[in-house]
Amino acid sequence: MQWDKVKNVLIVILAAVNVFLLANLGIRIGQEQERKAALEDSVRTLAAEYGVTIADAFDLPADKSLPELSIDRSRPDEEAVAAAMLGDDAERTEQDDGTVVFEGARGTVRWAADGRVEGSFQTGADAPQDGNDALRLARRLLADWGIPIRDAQLDTDGLTATLRGSAAGLPVFNRTLTLRFDGAGGVSLDGRWSFGTPYTTVRGSGVMCSAADALLEFVSRRTAAAEIRSMEAGYRLETDSSRRLQLTPTWKIVTDFGEYLVDCDKKTVIDQKN
């Protein structure tokens, strides 16, 4: 048997099949790109009809399917953080609505069942004098309190530091902690935070996040925004009817008038932050 010739024939056949598959793949990717460009054009046209322009740099994000996630409230973690903030002698009181209040010689911290936290206390450190000092102190305090900043973003504006948290590799738009240093050794704390790894169930439902749908729903609401600059898929922290913490898939739309959150599933505009 002439294996040499057989190999030649096989090489030709395989090369032909590969070329066909490659072409097929290229056509599909090309069609997808064309569809995306056409969709973006249509969205721009429709948005313009509502009096909203879409920035030239805007890139319509790809659709995503995100699972709805749950997080268990962790009172031990809340207590440990409060003890680190106020000292081990802080007294703990739980109210009927699930809010836990910690009071110590240094100040007060309140953790609510929906993850909201607020407090005011002395840090025991030198007061920061500028933004750089505030950033360094915020980083050190958060580490001391046991709040991880590895997957979070820490920014400062003057003597105010804001920690923006993420979960499951995506931003959680309302999971933030704001530290306002008063310049006299004190700090006030405000925001919403959670502990532990989020989870879903094997049969848990996923939510399809369509950027075009969310954008069109948003512009049709005729908000004060005149220009859309960017949008990003992520989560927002909320409590469900059984008072469990949930991470709900959400789009964040950045406009010239501020940031808006749009629920991926219900397409409702949830919140606005200027």
Binding site: K7, L25, R28, P67, D72, D96, G98, Y199, S242
Partner: protein, 438 residues
């Protein structure tokens, strides 16, 4: 020279063949993957997880076979170093206490063999040593409770239980069933976990009834108990009001319908009946939901037929029912939450019954709050939910303390329960006796 040249050419051809075959495999896979709707795959699919890593989807979250417990215990207690503390009928306190003792129960409910036990052994175990107690209202299978706390229980796992008591000294788990039977099993007790739980568990001082009362010896009697609860008025629900739009849409989706499904109205639009090829959903504006489907055709499935069985099937059914109930409670904007009350099997149908709680206190009515029947293939065969909305009055009532109730218990009254019941249109909290035949 010819032989080496032919050999080199042969090697090149072999390499080319290998490369072309590898390319063929990769291109086939790429074409296959591109043609699939990976985003719609379930979260436990490996391809979906890999896809999410590549395209920036959600990653780094846990997948659990079942969500959080479908029912919180009505009472919990823990005795470490001789002092017994307990919590009861307060959702936030119960959740806090449960998180403190979860590890203890997770390790204890990791299989054992249930055997009938005598009351004397239980009474002896109650008197000394570290112990922990969980009490539920209802008839909940032991394996379901074990699953909620992170453990696994197979032998006798279908036994419906009401109270679980873990005794460190005896190294035993005692289980009380709703019909009064007592079982025990040798289980591992983690002394370190108990000591750690003792540091974070917060509750009121209490004691066990022991053999001095007619009620079960494990009944918790709180010192200086003052359980004061508001009276409740029933408020109207209008599921069809414009404000309920989003909630109703979510509710329809939970039952496999969309907001555009055809429906017809009855009773001057007080009732809307949504119908598709396989199922019917009857929604009353006042909160009554009735669903029925042809077995095997329902679009609502807890799992695909043949994919899961046994405990996993029950977990999936519980999750499915809970997701629907969550949507229903959201649509009704109720202040209540649902808790599993019973699991019954009849033929190849499993029926899950839920009761509703207001702030952790059961609200009892003429009929069950919610029930879901699943076929063996995972389809939802029928469901009924009676949504109710309550408003707390400023008037409060103090419930008869358990110690007094236990002292007044007659023959047959073996356990106690605090619940709301309707009296002249007002829901009033009171303590009730339950007989062993309940």
């Amino acid at each position: 020279m010819r032989a080496p040249a032919r050999s080199a050419r042969n090697t090149v051809k072999n390499i080319a063949l290998l490369v072309l075959v590898a390319m063929l495999c990769m291109l086939c896979a790429a074409n296959w993957v591109l043609g699939m709707n990976i985003a719609q795959m379930p979260a436990d699919n490996l391809l979906r997880r890999a896809y999410d890593h590549l395209v920036g989807g959600a990653v780094g979250y846990e997948l659990r076979s079942s969500g959080v417990a479908a029912a919180e215990p009505a009472q919990l207690a823990l005795r470490v170093d001789g002092q017994l503390y307990g919590v009861q009928y307060n959702l936030t306190e119960v959740e806090a206490a449960f998180s403190a003792v979860q590890t203890v129960w997770e390790k204890a409910l990791s299989d054992g063999t249930l055997e009938p036990a005598d009351e004397a052994a239980l009474t002896a175990a109650l008197q000394t040593g570290d112990c922990a107690l969980l009490r539920y209202h209802g008839r909940i299978p032991l394996r379901v409770i074990a699953s909620w706390v992170g453990g696994i229980w197979t032998d006798g796992g279908d036994t419906a239980v009401e109270t679980l008591l873990l005794s460190a000294d005896a190294g035993k788990l005692f289980v009380r069933t709703p019909d009064g039977a007592l079982y025990s099993a040798e289980v591992p007790v983690d002394a370190d976990a108990l000591a750690s739980a003792g540091q974070t568990f917060r509750g009121m001082a209490c004691g066990f009834a022991g053999d001095g009362y007619a009620v079960y010896p494990e009944t918790l009697l709180f010192d200086s108990e003052r359980l004061t609860l508001p009276l409740l008025d029933r408020r109207d629900i209008d599921l069809f009001s414009a404000q309920s739009g989003a909630g109703l849409e979510g509710l329809l989706q939970a039952f496999g319908f969309t907001a555009y499904t055809d429906f017809y109205s009855e009773q001057d639009d007080a009732v809307r009946v949504f119908v598709d090829n396989a199922s019917t959903l009857r929604v009353s504006a006042d909160g009554l939901l009735q669903y029925a489907s042809a077995q095997g055709d329902s679009t609502v499935r807890a799992y695909e037929e043949g994919e899961v069985r046994g405990q996993s099937a029950l977990d999936a059914q519980l999750d499915c029912a809970r997701l629907i109930l969550d949507e229903a409670l959201r649509a009704g904007e109720t202040e209540t939450h649902a808790a599993l009350y019973a699991v019954q099997r009849s033929g190849d149908t499993t029926t899950l019954t839920f009761m509703q709680l207001y702030g952790g206190v059961p609200v009892l009515g003429e009929s069950d709050f919610a029930s879901f029947s699943f076929a063996e293939d995972g389809t939802l065969v029928s469901a009924t939910v009676q949504l109710q909305r309550f408003a707390a009055r400023s008037t409060q009532r103090t419930v008869l303390p358990a110690r007094q109730a236990a002292a007044g218990a007659g023959e047959g009254a073996r356990s106690l329960m605090v619940a709301y019941r309707a009296q002249d249109g007002v829901y009033v909290p009171a303590r009730y006796y339950l007989s062993s035949a309940a």
